[in-house]
Symmetry: C2
Subunit: 310 residues, 2 copies
């Protein structure tokens, strides 16, 4: 059980209510700083903002789902680093009209996401603002820290899971409809691939990142950081079963926010799963730069990827 | 020099421009996670949001000042923990109309604040939103981690610096005027008392926090966490020279966001400075609970402190 030791005040009553609701999913909230436990492995950290109207809408998701998704999108960066989760800090901005129950709902989602990868809520901050926004800072430890750099010509390129599910849900909502259960789950309850990321780091991965902007765009980041070209075979892209677009592979390759891992492994490697998560070979790294999407050996135009400032 | 290794895209051009502007004040931005250097001391962390319209206004501060102040308010939590700074993560939300130069200005302020305490910008995130908002997560290391708990009856209570300067500036602006240079500087360029905090931790401090809500409110947090009563002598409160209110001490005691340290030291201690920062004895801890503001030995009503949800 967590207890926040704070003086009187409505703001502090809210923090106390959140600490009580988090229970064993949280650490002693209320101190100026949280102590990060000293354990084996290199400490890594990352920060990620999820904003109402930009990253989620509350006519699509419950507050608990919005919190779960915000935390998972941040935890996904730990997976890409090959790290296990230590914990998360949540700076939550809520509209003035939000009730304590609303704040607790959002933080229950954050706490569930942290718990799902054996992490805890280490601390946070609470602010009133125009709309919901959460900046989640994640901390983890890695035996071998992975980055986007390190891919070499000849490496094979894999992706975890299936792509396009989150985009399928998004497009259904944007068209005024309702997504099917599977794509809705992909959007509302993505998985941070912590276990798979650690397994891949331990099995010789040369470079890794998580798919937030979309396969095509994110492969471009890996190519730029590693100074290689990435050739992706569209026919090999594992497409989420909910995707019904005319060109399913291109739809999946352009869709963002699947939070699957894109990983390079040495030539000759042949894996089909990583810690129970499907692993699909979708391309190769080569001398050069940029990304080519190939179908029947011919380049297909890159679809535009999602861009908050676009 | 820092270089962000990212693929093409307007959002990534902005991150590249920020990385270039930060120079030696930043670390390699663009990876999913930043590696936290393994050094002596216990790692501590905290997160803090500064939002336009709640914590600052851009008709009062330049973007660079807003960034400096946002980072300092977060770094101040490290000071309260007795920690030195390692670095900061900045999740920056900017209006869609913000230019790359605007983003660079804000981040120059963050970089300057980090550099002023020998820290660096370790990473960040960039989002478009309705208005400016920055969530700064700070990381530091402490030989002896301080918290709000630990004060004992009989301890003497000190405060660093002078109080009420930020409030004097705020009230001048709210009344439609302009603050004098000294109070404006207190608001726009506060100091994170990192050096003083470490000195106090090394000199036997029993409990410590930084003054963000105001002396009266924050003393209440320390009292609650330490399970003591705090008696404060209003006549001893060191008041910022810009304060001209009829009751200067009460004005200063109710003013927030000075980012000075409130600290308890063992009975009998007698210090006047901590690493060059003035240290003033303003009260004692006693058996009991809550805070009493005393004048001529008589209790004065607690002024309401600033509350974002109030």
């Amino acid at each position: 059980m967590t207890e926040a030791r704070l003086g009187p005040g409505a703001e502090f009553d809210r923090i106390r209510a959140i600490a009580t609701a988090l229970g064993s999913r949280g650490r002693a909230l209320g101190d100026d700083c949280a102590v990060i436990p000293d354990e084996p492995g290199t400490l890594v950290a990352s920060t990620d903002t999820s904003e109402e109207g930009v990253h989620f809408r509350l006519d699509w998701l419950t507050l608990e789902e919005a919190g779960y998704r915000a935390a998972t999108s941040a935890l996904s960066d730990l997976a890409a680093a090959g790290a296990r989760a230590v914990g998360v800090f949540t700076a939550l901005t809520a509209p003035r009209a939000a009730t304590t129950a609303d704040l607790v709902s959002f933080m229950n989602g954050v706490g569930d996401a942290a718990e799902s990868v054996d992490g805890v809520v280490l601390g946070g901050d609470l602010t009133a603002g125009a709309r919901w926004s959460a900046t989640i800072t994640v901390m983890g430890r890695a035996e071998r820290v992975m980055s986007r750099r390190g891919a070499r010509p000849g490496d094979v390129v894999y992706v975890t899971g299936r792509l396009g599910g989150a985009r399928a849900a998004l497009e259904a909502w944007l068209e005024g409809g309702a997504p099917d259960a599977a794509s809705r789950a992909a959007f509302a309850h993505p998985s941070a691939r912590i276990g798979a990321g650690r397994w891949l780091a331990a099995h010789g991965a040369t470079a890794m990142l998580d798919l937030s902007d979309g396969l095509a765009g994110d492969a471009g980041h890996l190519a730029a950081a590693s100074e290689v070209r990435i050739d992706l075979d569209l026919e090999a892209v594992p497409v989420h079963p909910s995707v019904v677009a005319p060109d399913r592979a291109l739809f999946a390759a352009a869709g963002g926010e699947d939070y699957e891992l894109l990983v390079c492994l040495p030539a000759g490697s042949a894996y089909e799963t990583a810690m129970g998560v499907p692993l699909t070979r979708i391309g190769v790294a080569a001398e050069g730069q940029g990304v080519r999407l190939l179908r029947d050996g011919r380049a297909v135009a890159l679809p535009a990827s999602y861009n908050h400032f676009g």
